[in-house]
Amino acid sequence: MVDAPLLALHGISRSFGAGPVLDGLSLSISAGERRGLIGPNGAGKTTLINLITGKLRPDSGRVLYRGLDITDLPPHRRARLGIGRSFQILSLFGEASVGENIRGALLAKHGIGTTVARRLSSLEPIFAESEQIAALAGLLPFLGERVDTLPYGLQRRLDIALVTAQEPELVILDEPAAGLSAAETRDLIDLLEAIIRGCTLILVEHDMDVVYALSDRITVLDYGCVLTEGTPAEVNADPAVRRVYLGEETG
């Protein structure tokens, strides 16, 4: 029996102003796969993520998740179906504490995000679960700190912690190592290894160490189309990839 892909994109096109950013792109990702998505700036990686998570709608083409057409679903419905994402440009609840950020993600996951029938302070299991997630992300000492007073590296970790709290089936990470030092990036890889266990992953990242460490297949995008797809070794050896992306023979 052939497994249906967890996520399938069929003939996705999307334009902004003058030219197409994605041009009839098709992509399919099986459950449990860890897919790296690379390509030069402007290749359409972030646009692709926004189309999968619902921030954008395609001009044409369909997005299928577990065989379900989600092309026109708003982001919160896709999140509830099990799609979680992190953000290239940090997107947190800055005035709230680290604990309150994680709690917000947990309340939504447990389906009690907007109830008036519970008192917040009576939700001890949620507090305990936030503590566990904070511990996993190395944020336990900062649980009561206001997020916008935290250093950038810790805010990056909180971004990942929120995705962890969602317990998504499909994890989409948009440049999780952006702006991190080499040491911080190594710590981040360990954290990501721990939290994506058992999930399907789509990873957009410029730092190739992160891509090689976390992906078992890589798709290379160029000008809104799939240039090539394969294992890290195959992609690394592909002359076309080396030309457009890895920077060889371009002078």
Partner: protein, 342 residues
């Protein structure tokens, strides 16, 4: 994911800190509501009329601030909901004088709340200045209806003589020619439970938490699974309902409803009240309305240019204490408490 039964040390610290802040807020809340309830015994009857107006406009200002504080949206047309409920209450009293008045008040307020949900569909999709402009347009539109639709609203004459000779509180419990004190008590009997329930919802339930998360970062909230439009819309409906209770009671307490209860001046007065009291605290607007009403009363006894002095005082207050009187009070309280803590 397994959940341990024990809370770690970091969390206990967090909860203790939060607990202290909550306790201060809860004590101030109880003190304020106790003062509202006890006013008929504390305040001379001559001042009770003014206080009744202050309490109702304060309830209305709390309604305005539900949208401003919790959703971060500045409404320039909140009098629409106050006014619609005031007119509705007058018309309901005229049509159903035998129906218990609490039901009529709830009906008029529910009408305002539903109108809020309807208009909110358009308004809360916008943010910042665009939200404010949309609410201004909606406010102006409803004012124009009230002004022009003479057959229903009485136009510039307004509506009067809708108060029945005896106000039915419950079947078998009537108020004949209710006194100022009785009207005040009716207002307080609505204000206290409804504001308390709203405060609990917004400060202590996941829904209130969601409203505040959406204000801080709507996009992230959506990607975590929150239906952000619905959260904002529900909160807007709640704010319209609270303003509606105030408007319905306003009609009863004045025995008269005119375009003054729905015009844009009232929409801006309520903003000024909220800012005087302090928008960062749920109860700040109630405080602000009392200061506004008694301040303008005193000033107008001294000079006919009282609005000029009121305006100057407001500017000075906003510049000196941007968090209003409540912000100033909490600052003073924390200064008093801290030395004993350390």
């Amino acid at each position: 994911m397994t959940i341990p039964g024990r809370l770690g040390p970091a969390l206990s610290v967090l909860k203790a800190e939060r607990g202290r802040r909550d306790l201060g807020g809860a004590l101030a809340t109880l003190a304020l509501l106790a003062a509202v309830a006890a006013a008929p015994w504390l305040v001379p009857v001559a001042a009770l009329n003014d206080l009744g107006q202050a309490v109702l406009l304060g309830l209305f200002a709390i309604g305005f601030n539900i949208v401003f504080k919790y959703s971060g949206l500045l409404s320039f047309g909140h009098a629409a909901f106050f006014g619609v409920a005031a007119y509705a209450e007058a018309l309901l009293l005229r049509a159903f004088p035998a129906v218990p008045v609490p039901l009529l008040i709830l009906g008029a307020a529910a009408g305002a709340g539903l109108l809020g949900l309807l208009l909110g569909h358009v308004c809360v999709r916008r943010t910042g200045a665009y939200f404010s402009m949309t609410t201004l347009a909606v406010g102006a539109f409803l004012y124009t209806i009230a002004f022009k639709w003479h057959a229903v609203t009485g136009g510039t004459d307004g509506l009067d003589e809708f108060m029945p000779a005896a106000l039915v509180l419950l079947p078998g419990w009537r108020l004949t020619n209710p006194s100022i004190t009785e009207i005040y008590e009716l207002s307080a009997a609505f204000l206290i439970p409804f504001t308390l329930a709203t405060w609990l919802i917004l400060e202590h339930t996941p829904f209130g938490n969601a409203v505040q998360l959406v204000r801080q970062n709507e996009e992230r909230a959506a990607f975590l699974g929150y239906d952000t439009h619905r959260v904002k819309l529900t909160n807007y409906g709640l704010a319209a309902f609270v303003a509606g209770i105030a408007g319905a009671l306003w009609a009863i307490s004045n025995g008269f409803v005119s375009t003054d209860s729905i015009d844009l001046t009232l929409s801006t007065t309520v903003i000024i009240m909220a800012f005087i009291g302090g928008t960062a605290w749920f109860w700040g607007p109630l405080l602000g309305s009392a200061i506004y009403i008694f301040g303008s009363d005193r000033l107008s006894a001294v000079t006919q240019h009282w609005q000029l002095w009121m305006g100057l005082a407001f500017i000075a207050l906003v510049l000196a204490f941007p968090r209003g009187i409540a912000g100033l009070a909490s600052l003073l309280a924390s200064r008093l408490v801290r030395p004993r803590d350390g």
